[in-house]
C-alpha cells in the first residue's frame, strides 16, 4: 500500500468506524468489539504512515490540502499509540459505568461513536496543509468531543459542556482571524488563492511576508490555539472539562487534543519565526506564556484534593512546559518541546486512566478520603506512582528527558532568570504531587473501599502506557529521535 492510500485510509477509517458503531444494535459486547477493531485499524494505518516519513519525506493528498510531514507524524504517533491504549481501557471503564447505572448502553454507543469522530477531527487538523482547514479541524474537535465530556446528565456535566464549547469557541475565533490575516498577507506575495492557503507555501515565502502583520498574526494564533491548548490565562475551561468527563475522554483530551492545538500553534510559530519578524519574537512570547502558565497551574495544583482536577492542572502546567521549550527555541529547545509532547501524552493518558481505577475503588475523587491504595490495589498504586514520578520529572521517566534538556539549553542560552523561574515552578509541582501521592497511596483508607484491584484486562493498556514512559525515559529510540530531528528541521526551515 503506498503512502497516499495510507493517508486517505487514515482520514476515512475513523469516520467509517463512527458510522458503523452508530448503526449497531444496543449490545455492549458488539459495540465494544467494533470499537476496538476500529481503533486498532486506525492505529495500524497511522503507524504505517508515520514509518514512511521518519526519514524526512513529505507526502500530499487532496490537491496538497492535506499532507504528512515529520512534524505532523509526531502527532499522528500520539493518536495511534495513546489513542489505541486509551480506547482499550475505555471498553472496561464504560462497562463499569453501565454496571453502576451511571450510563446506559445507549450512552456508551454515543460515546464510542463520538470517540472515532473525535479521532477523525484530530487527524484532520494534524494532516491539514490548508491553514483554514486546520482551523476547521481544531474547532471540530471541540464540537465532536463536547458530548463525550458532558455525557453524564447532571448539573456539573452541563456546566462543564457549556464552559468548554463557549470558551474554546471564543478563543478559536481569534485563531480564525489569524488564519484570514495570514492568507491575505500571503496572497499579496504568492498571488494564487489555492497556494496562499497552504502552510508549505507560506513557509517557503515566509521571508517575503510583511513582518508587522506576522507579529499580529502570531498574537492572534497564540490567543486562539493557546486557549485550546490550555495556556494561561485562557485555560479556565480545562480543569473543569478534564475533571468532569469520564476518565478515557479526559485521557484523550489531555493526552492528544491539547497537543493538536499545540501543533497548530507550532505551524504559526514556524512561519513567523522564519520570517523577518524572527525567532526571537516568537520565542519571547512563548517563554512568557509558558512561565505564566506553569506558575498559575502550580499554584492551583497545591490546593487540589480532587485527583482528576489535580491531573487537569498538571495538563495546564505541562502545556506551559512545552511553551517554555518553544520559547528556548533552537534545535535543542524545539527537540525538547516535541519530546515533551509525547512524554506528556503517554504520562497523562496513564494518569487519567489510573484515576478511573481509583474512582472504582473508592467511589470518590477526593484524595483525602483515599489512602492505603498500595495494599488495596498494588498494581494501580504502582501505575499511579509511575504517572506521578514522570509528571514531576524523576530521572528514568520520560518527562525527565525533555525537562532536563530544557533546563540545560536555557543555561547554555543564558536564560538565567527564566530557568530559575522554570525550576521554581517545577519544584512547586514536585511538592504538591508527592504530598498528594502519599495521601492516596499510603496509610489507611479514609473511606469505604468498594472493590479491590481491577482485573488485569483493565490494567493491561495502562501497563502498556507505563512501559512506554519508562522506555522513553531510559532508552534512545533511534527512529523516534530521527523523526523528532526531522520535525525540528521543518520548524527551523532547514
Amino acid at each position: 500500500m503506498d503512502i497516499q492510500q495510507l493517508l486517505y485510509l487514515l482520514m476515512v477509517l475513523p469516520v467509517i468506524a463512527s458510522v458503523v458503531i452508530w448503526f449497531l444494535p444496543k449490545n455492549y459486547k458488539v459495540l465494544s468489539t467494533f470499537h476496538i477493531l476500529g481503533s486498532m485499524a486506525t492505529s495500524i494505518i497511522g503507524l504505517l504512515a508515520v514509518s514512511k516519513v521518519i526519514d524526512g519525506q513529505t507526502y500530499f493528498i487532496f490537491d496538497e490540502m492535506f499532507f504528512l510531514d515529520s512534524l505532523g507524524a509526531v502527532f499522528i504517533s500520539l493518536i495511534a499509540v495513546t489513542g489505541l491504549l486509551v480506547n482499550l481501557y475505555s471498553v472496561k471503564y464504560m462497562q463499569w459505568e453501565v454496571e453502576k447505572g451511571e450510563l446506559t448502553v445507549k450512552d456508551t454507543k454515543l460515546f464510542f461513536t463520538l470517540f472515532h469522530l473525535f479521532v477523525f477531527t484530530m487527524t484532520f487538523s494534524v494532516l491539514a496543509n490548508n491553514i483554514a482547514l486546520m482551523w476547521v479541524g481544531i474547532e471540530a474537535t471541540t464540537l465532536s468531543s463536547v458530548f463525550m465530556v458532558a455525557i453524564h446528565k447532571s448539573k456539573k456535566s452541563t456546566e462543564t459542556g457549556w464552559k468548554y464549547i463557549i470558551i474554546c469557541s471564543i478563543g478559536l475565533a481569534f485563531a480564525l482571524y489569524a488564519t484570514v490575516l495570514l492568507y491575505s498577507a500571503g496572497f499579496n506575495i504568492i498571488n494564487d488563492s489555492h497556494s496562499a492557503m497552504l502552510w508549505t507555501t507560506l513557509m517557503a515565502h515566509s521571508k517575503e511576508i510583511d513582518p508587522d502583520a506576522l507579529k499580529l498574526i502570531f498574537i492572534f494564533a497564540l490567543i486562539g490555539f493557546g486557549t485550546k491548548a490550555g495556556l494561561a490565562p485562557t485555560h479556565t475551561w480545562l480543569p473543569d472539562v478534564h475533571s468532569e468527563g469520564p476518565a478515557p475522554s479526559s485521557a484523550m483530551l489531555s493526552g492528544i487534543l491539547l497537543k493538536c492545538a499545540i501543533l497548530a500553534l507550532i505551524r504559526y510559530y514556524a512561519v513567523v519565526g522564519n520570517s523577518l519578524a524572527g525567532f526571537e519574537y516568537v520565542q519571547s512570547l512563548m517563554i512568557i506564556s509558558g512561565l505564566v502558565t506553569i506558575f498559575i497551574a502550580s499554584f492551583f495544583l497545591l490546593m487540589q484534593h480532587d485527583v482528576k482536577r489535580m491531573f487537569a492542572y498538571h495538563s495546564i502546567a505541562h502545556m506551559g512546559v512545552i511553551a517554555f521549550g518553544l520559547g528556548i527555541g533552537g534545535a535543542v529547545g524545539l527537540f525538547a518541546a516535541l519530546f515533551h509532547v509525547l512524554a506528556h501524552s503517554v504520562t497523562k493518558a496513564l494518569a487519567f486512566c489510573v484515576t478511573g481505577n481509583m474512582i472504582q475503588i473508592y467511589g470518590t475523587r477526593d484524595m483525602t478520603k483515599m489512602g492505603g491504595l498500595i495494599k488495596i490495589a498494588p498494581i494501580t498504586a504502582i501505575l499511579f506512582g509511575i504517572a506521578v514520578c514522570s509528571l514531576v520529572g524523576v530521572p528514568g521517566f520520560a518527562i525527565f528527558v525533555s525537562e532536563f534538556l530544557m533546563i540545560k539549553q536555557s543555561i547554555v542560552n543564558g536564560l538565567n532568570l527564566e530557568v530559575i523561574l522554570f525550576i521554581i515552578g517545577l519544584i512547586i509541582i514536585f511538592i504538591a504531587d508527592f504530598s498528594h501521592f502519599n495521601l492516596a497511596t499510603f496509610g489507611k483508607s479514609n473511606s469505604k473501599v468498594l472493590r479491590n484491584e481491577l482485573p488485569l484486562s483493565a490494567n493491561l493498556p495502562l501497563i502498556g502506557l507505563a512501559s512506554l514512559i519508562i522506555i522513553f525515559g531510559v532508552f534512545t529510540i533511534k527512529p523516534w529521535f530521527a523523526l523528532l530531528q526531522n520535525a525540528v528541521n521543518i520548524i527551523m526551515g532547514i
Binding site: V136, K155, K163, S184, M197
Partner: protein
C-alpha cells in the same frame, strides 16, 4: 457623499448593538436575522461591484443558513423554554452596550490599518465594521450572562469574521467557506442543546448561576 456600502456597514454595526442590547429574546433574535440580512446585502453589493462571483454564492448560502436557519433554531429554543427577557447583565442594561461599542470601535480603529494593507477589497468602513462586530460579539460573552444572549454573541462575532473573510479573502477555496460555516452551524445547534439542558438543571439561563465547579 457616503456610499451605499458604508451605509450598509453602519447599519450592520447598529444592528449588532441591537442584538447585544435588546433584552427581549425574540426581538434580539430577529435583530440578528436582520443583521445577517444586511450582511447578505453587503455580499451582493461586493459581488456586483468587484465582480467577485464567489460572494454571490456566499450570499445565497448565508441567507438560507444564517438569515433563516439559525434564527429558527433560536426561536424554537425560546418557545420551548418559555423565556422572554434576559436577567440583569454585568454592568447593567444601559452601561454594558456603551462599554461594548466604545471598546469595540477603539480596537477596530487600531487594527484596521493592518487589515486594510492586505485586504483584497480595500473598503475602510466595512473593514472597521467587521472588526467592530467581532469585538461586540466578544464583549457579548463577557458582559451578558444569558445563555441565549451568549449564543447570539457567538453568531455576531461569526458575522464579523464572515465579513472580514469576504473583504480579505473572498477568493479563498470554497471548501474553506464551507468548512467554517459548517462548524458555525453545528456550534449553534450544540450550544442550543446545552442552553436547553442548562435551563433544565439550573432553572434559569443565567450562566453566572453555574457555580458547581470552582477552584
Amino acid at each position: 457623499m457616503i456610499d451605499l456600502l458604508s451605509i450598509l456597514s453602519i447599519i450592520l454595526i447598529i444592528s449588532s448593538l441591537c442584538v447585544f442590547g435588546i433584552r427581549n429574546y425574540k426581538l434580539a433574535t430577529c435583530a440578528y436575522s436582520f443583521q445577517t440580512f444586511i450582511l447578505v446585502m453587503i455580499f451582493i453589493y461586493l459581488y456586483k461591484t468587484y465582480s467577485a462571483d464567489e460572494l454571490g454564492s456566499w450570499a445565497i448560502i448565508a441567507f438560507f443558513t444564517k438569515v433563516i436557519f439559525v434564527p429558527v433554531i433560536l426561536l424554537r429554543l425560546i418557545k420551548k423554554l418559555k423565556v422572554e427577557h434576559e436577567d440583569e447583565p454585568v454592568l447593567g442594561f444601559y452601561v454594558s452596550p456603551i462599554v461594548a461599542i466604545a471598546f469595540s470601535l477603539a480596537i477596530a480603529m487600531a487594527l484596521y490599518p493592518i487589515y486594510l494593507k492586505f485586504s483584497l477589497i480595500k473598503e475602510h468602513i466595512p473593514l472597521i465594521a467587521s472588526i467592530t462586530i467581532f469585538m461586540i460579539g466578544i464583549f457579548g460573552f463577557v458582559l451578558r450572562n444569558s445563555a441565549i444572549k451568549q449564543i447570539l454573541a457567538y453568531c455576531t462575532f461569526e458575522n464579523g469574521i464572515h465579513l472580514s473573510l469576504a473583504l480579505m479573502a473572498y477568493n479563498s477555496p470554497e471548501i474553506v467557506e464551507l468548512g467554517i460555516l459548517t462548524d458555525a452551524l453545528f456550534a449553534v445547534i450544540i450550544t442550543s442543546i446545552f442552553a436547553s439542558r442548562f435551563f433544565k438543571y439550573f432553572g434559569s439561563l443565567d450562566v453566572s448561576k453555574a457555580t458547581e465547579l470552582k477552584g
